[in-house]
C-alpha cells in the first residue's frame, strides 16, 4: 500500500509518501512443487532426469 500525493496548489511539500510495509513471515515447507508430488504420489523427491521414481512409496 503506497500513497503518494502532491498537495493542491503546487505545494512545495511534494513528497509525502506513506507506505505500509508488508509483514515479513519467513516460511519453510517440505511440500514445495516437487514435494507436492512427494505428497501426492508417496515419493520423496522428483528429480525428473535422474529418476523421479527412485524413492516412491508403494501404497496409494
Amino acid at each position: 500500500m503506497e500513497n503518494t500525493s502532491v498537495c493542491e496548489g503546487g505545494s512545495p511539500l511534494d513528497d509525502l509518501r506513506v507506505e505500509e510495509l508488508e509483514p515479513r513471515l519467513e516460511f519453510m515447507s517440505a511440500a514445495l512443487e516437487c514435494g507436492y508430488i512427494f505428497w501426492q504420489e508417496g515419493c520423496v523427491i522428483c528429480f525428473n532426469d535422474s529418476g523421479p521414481d527412485i524413492i516412491c512409496g508403494s501404497a496409494v
Partner: protein, 405 residues
C-alpha cells in the same frame, strides 16, 4: 517491533526511526498495532513536528530551511492532515495477516526462540559462516549429483515417518536460522509456528522487525534459514556415511533440493524476500500491478512517467512480474487439473487408512500416510483459499467494505 529504541522518536501511535535501507532518506514507523510504515523524510518531519507540539509556523520555517524553498503554515497543515489520515488508517485497524496464511499455531514461544537464537547466532559470524557455507555447498552439490547412491534407494515406504521427523527438524532449524540472524542484529525474537500457507503446510518465523535493519542485514536474515537447514543436511549426510541409515541420506538430499527451491522468488518463501532486499523494493508482490499499469501506459502512450527505481531495478521488477504471472497461471492450472481427481480419490484413500488401522497388524501400509496427508493439506488449502476469496469478495462488494485484512 521495527523501530530501534536507541534512535527512535516516540509518536502517539508508535515509534519512528531512520530507514537505513532506502535510497532516499526515509523513516520506518512502528505502529502500536504491530504494522510497519515507511514515511518519506518530509512526511516524517511534518508528523513529528506537529505531534511533538511545534506550531505549523515553526515546522514551516524548519522545512523552508531544509528544503531550500518557501513553505507556509498552510502547506504544513494540509500536509499534516493528509499524512496523519493515512497513518491513522493503517494504525487504527487490525494488523493485516500475511495473504495466503489461512491459519497458524504457535509452536515455540518467544522466550524459547530468543534464548536458542542468541546461542546460535555466533554461527553467523563471517569467520565461522563462510567455511561452513562452503562445506555445505560442496556437500549439497555432491549429494545432488550422486545419482548412483540415489538409484540404490527403492521403496522407502517404511522410511516415511523417520524421514518426516528429520525433515521437520530441519525446518525448525531453518526458522531458527532466520531468528538467529535477526537476534544477531538486535531485533526482537518472535515466535516460531506452524500453519497452512496457500496449499503448503509450513513452518514460519515472524521477522517483521527486520524492516528497520539495513538491506545487507536483511539479506543475511533471508539466507540464514537455508544456511541452517543445509548445516542440518550436512550433518545428516555425515550420519548416513557413518551409519548407512538411508533415511538420513533421503532427508539430506530432500533438504538440499528444497533449500534451492525455496530460494525461487515464488509466493513469499525466502527467495521472495531475498529478491525484494536485493532490489531494495519493499512490497514487491504489490508492485506487479504498478509495473503492469506502467507498461500499459507506456505502450498506449498515455504516460511516459518512469518507475521510481534505477533502470536495472525497474527491469528486474518487470521480469519478476512477468515470471510471477506465468508461474501463478500454471500453478492454478495445475491445481485445477489435479484437485478434482484428488477430491474423487480422497474417500478411498482415507478408508484405506482406516482399513489398515482396523485390520492386523493395525498399522498403515507403506506409503499410506503420505497418500492421505498430502491430499489432506492440498484439499484443505484449496477449500480455505476458496472460502477466504469468497468472503473477501462479498466484503469488498458491501458499502464501506473492502478491508480485506
Amino acid at each position: 517491533m521495527c523501530a530501534n529504541p536507541s534512535t527512535s522518536t516516540a509518536l502517539p501511535y508508535g515509534r519512528a526511526t531512520v530507514d537505513p535501507s532506502d535510497r532516499q532518506q526515509s523513516y520506518v514507523l512502528e505502529a502500536s498495532n504491530g504494522s510497519c510504515i515507511r514515511l518519506s523524510s518530509t512526511a516524517y518531519l511534518v508528523l513529528v513536528g506537529i505531534d511533538g507540539g511545534a506550531t505549523a509556523e515553526e515546522v514551516a520555517r524548519d522545512l523552508t530551511r531544509r528544503l531550500g524553498r518557501a513553505v507556509t503554515a498552510e502547506h504544513v497543515e494540509a500536509a499534516y492532515t493528509q499524512v496523519r489520515k493515512q497513518v491513522d488508517t493503517i494504525t487504527e485497524r487490525v494488523r493485516p495477516k500475511p495473504f495466503g496464511l489461512w491459519f497458524r499455531v504457535r509452536l515455540l514461544p518467544v522466550a524459547v526462540v530468543d534464548r536458542v537464537s542468541r546461542r546460535l547466532s555466533p554461527l553467523l559470524r563471517p569467520p565461522v559462516a563462510v567455511p561452513l557455507a562452503l562445506l555445505c555447498a560442496v556437500a549439497a552439490m555432491s549429494a545432488l549429483a550422486d545419482t548412483t547412491s540415489r538409484a540404490k534407494l527403492v521403496d522407502p515406504g517404511g522410511s516415511f515417518l523417520p524421514l518426516l521427523g528429520l525433515l521437520i527438524f530441519s525446518m525448525f532449524a531453518h526458522e531458527l536460522g532466520h531468528a538467529s540472524a535477526s537476534s544477531r542484529y538486535g531485533t526482537p525474537a518472535r515466535d516460531i509456528g506452524f500453519g497452512l500457507y496457500l496449499v503448503y503446510p509450513v513452518f514460519y518465523n515472524d521477522v517483521t522487525a527486520a524492516w528497520r535493519l539495513t538491506r545487507r542485514q536483511r539479506l543475511v536474515i533471508d539466507l540464514a534459514g537455508v544456511f541452517f537447514q543445509f548445516l542440518v543436511a550436512g550433518s545428516y549426510l555425515l550420519i548416513y556415511h557413518l551409519t548407512g541409515v538411508q533415511a538420513f541420506y533421503l532427508a539430506a538430499v530432500t533438504i538440499f533440493f528444497l533449500g534451492l527451491v525455496v530460494l525461487l522468488p515464488i509466493f513469499k518463501f525466502d527467495g521472495y524476500w531475498l529478491l525484494s532486499d536485493l532490489l531494495g523494493v519493499p512490497n514487491l508482490s504489490s508492485q506487479i500491478r504498478r509495473v503492469g499499469a506502467h507498461v500499459r501506459d507506456r505502450l498506449t502512450r498515455r504516460s511516459d512517467a518512469r518507475l521510481p527505481w534505477p533502470g536495472w531495478v525497474s527491469a528486474a521488477v518487470i521480469a519478476y512480474g512477468a515470471f510471477t504471472v506465468v508461474f501463478v497461471f500454471f500453478f492454478v492450472l495445475r491445481l485445477a487439473l489435479v484437485v478434482p481427481d484428488l477430491a474423487a480419490d480422497y474417500p478411498a484413500r482415507v478408508s484405506g487408512l482406516f482399513r489398515d488401522l482396523a485390520l492386523p497388524p493395525h498399522r498403515p501400509a507403506a506409503g499410506r500416510l503420505a497418500s492421505v496427508l498430502g491430499p489432506t493439506y492440498i484439499l484443505l488449502g484449496v477449500s480455505l483459499a476458496t472460502v477466504t476469496m469468497v468472503v473477501r469478495g462479498i466484503r469488498a462488494m458491501r458499502p464501506h467494505g473492502g478491508d480485506d485484512s
